[in-house]
């Protein structure tokens, strides 16, 4: 009996220790898709803007929309970007009310402007109604917004992550980290994903 209890406890402990992944509004596609794609990105990083504008739409249309991949956006504000954390908090708050995509799109589109003047709130207000804007501002310091950012930062540091954007591809329990120049060569990204799907 004692042995059974000890065994049950030993099996249960890792489950209790692992913090739940607080994904809300920042994941797209079928969660049961064979490939998991996690994008670690910072809204103030120019390379992340390029990835968001050029590569991500192709990944979404070729894999996420086709049910081949599940896409999760990971908040990874870099310390050298003074508005990076605030941008992540605002977008995460928007994600809580189902407005992740318009919020991320407008922040990346107007990155040059708000990176200079810090007018994030004003930039976001163009895609939010007044009541949504109030909801977002009320949510910023809420644990529902802070917890996902802290979770994603911890996960990124644990990888470890050298730069943004970094894409973590998980397929059959194996993880592949894509970063650097190669990430902007969609031909190679596509070849990687196609190769995995054929295995």
């Amino acid at each position: 009996m004692k042995l059974c209890l000890a065994l049950a406890l030993a099996l249960l402990l890792p489950c209790l220790a692992a913090a739940p992944d607080p994904i809300h509004g920042n994941a797209f596609g079928d969660s049961k898709a064979p490939i998991l794609i996690e994008v670690f990105s910072d809204f103030q990083c120019p390379a992340c803007k390029r990835f968001h504008d050029e590569e991500l739409p192709l990944i979404v249309s070729d894999y996420v929309s086709q049910g081949k991949a599940y896409l999760v956006y990971r908040y990874f504000p870099l310390p050298q970007h003074i508005y990076g954390r605030k941008a992540a908090e605002l977008v995460c708050a928007c994600a809580q009310i189902g407005k992740y995509e318009p919020a991320a799109d407008i922040l990346f589109a107007k990155q040059n402007a708000w990176s200079q003047d810090g007018k994030l709130d004003e930039t976001l207000s163009t895609v939010l109604t007044p009541s949504e804007r109030k909801q977002v501002l009320d949510l910023i310091k809420d644990p529902r917004v802070q917890a996902p950012i802290e979770h994603d930062l911890a996960e990124g540091h644990a990888l470890p992550l050298a730069s943004t954007p970094t894409v973590l591809v998980t397929y059959k329990s194996r993880q592949f980290k894509l970063d650097g120049q190669g990430l902007f060569n969609y031909r190679l990204v596509k070849a990687t994903l196609d190769d995995l799907l054929q295995r």
Partner: protein, 158 residues
């Protein structure tokens, strides 16, 4: 160990025995490097090559497809000890190219994957040191491969 020391190393000079051991180690490392690349999607290795920014895309793809198989062949030939001079020279040239590219990338401050044993290993002073040690070993193995064997008949002089 007695068999190994008596039958394999016994009739060799200390330098010859060292060359034999280094040749087999180099061969095993090449086989391991090839296997690590071949088990993953080829495009991941292509991304590592591309990050050095020295080759056009068509050459990157060609290298990503062919280099792991070439490393595998080289490793097997080094371990088997056939055509000793040829694989030793090829390994030295290949390691020389790798070392040169790594030094160039480090000098340029590029924060990229080494690509040495497949994806996921950052280029660092440690990887540079390791590749330098492999290159030095390969140069030694190559030099020893062209030494006349002990007991070989001298060429008769008329």
């Amino acid at each position: 160990m007695t068999f190994f020391s008596d039958r394999i190393l016994g009739r060799r000079t200390p330098a010859g025995a060292a060359a034999l051991v280094l040749r087999v180690i180099l061969g095993a490392i090449f086989v391991y490097a090839a296997w690590m690349k071949l088990r993953d999607p080829w495009a991941l290795f292509a991304m590592s090559i591309d990050s050095y920014q020295v080759l056009p895309l068509w050459a990157v793809e060609l290298a990503a497809h062919s280099l792991p198989w070439f490393e595998l062949l080289l490793g097997v030939l080094l371990i088997a000890g056939v055509w000793r001079g040829v694989p030793a020279v090829a390994a030295t040239l290949l390691l020389g190219v790798f070392f040169g590219l790594m030094v160039r990338a480090m000098a340029k401050g590029m924060q990229i994957d080494c690509g040495c044993f497949g994806p996921g290993e950052r280029l660092s002073w440690m990887t540079l040191l390791r590749d330098g040690a492999l290159l030095a070993s390969s140069v030694f193995v190559t030099a020893m491969a062209f030494q006349p064997r002990r007991g070989a008949r001298p060429t008769p002089v008329e």
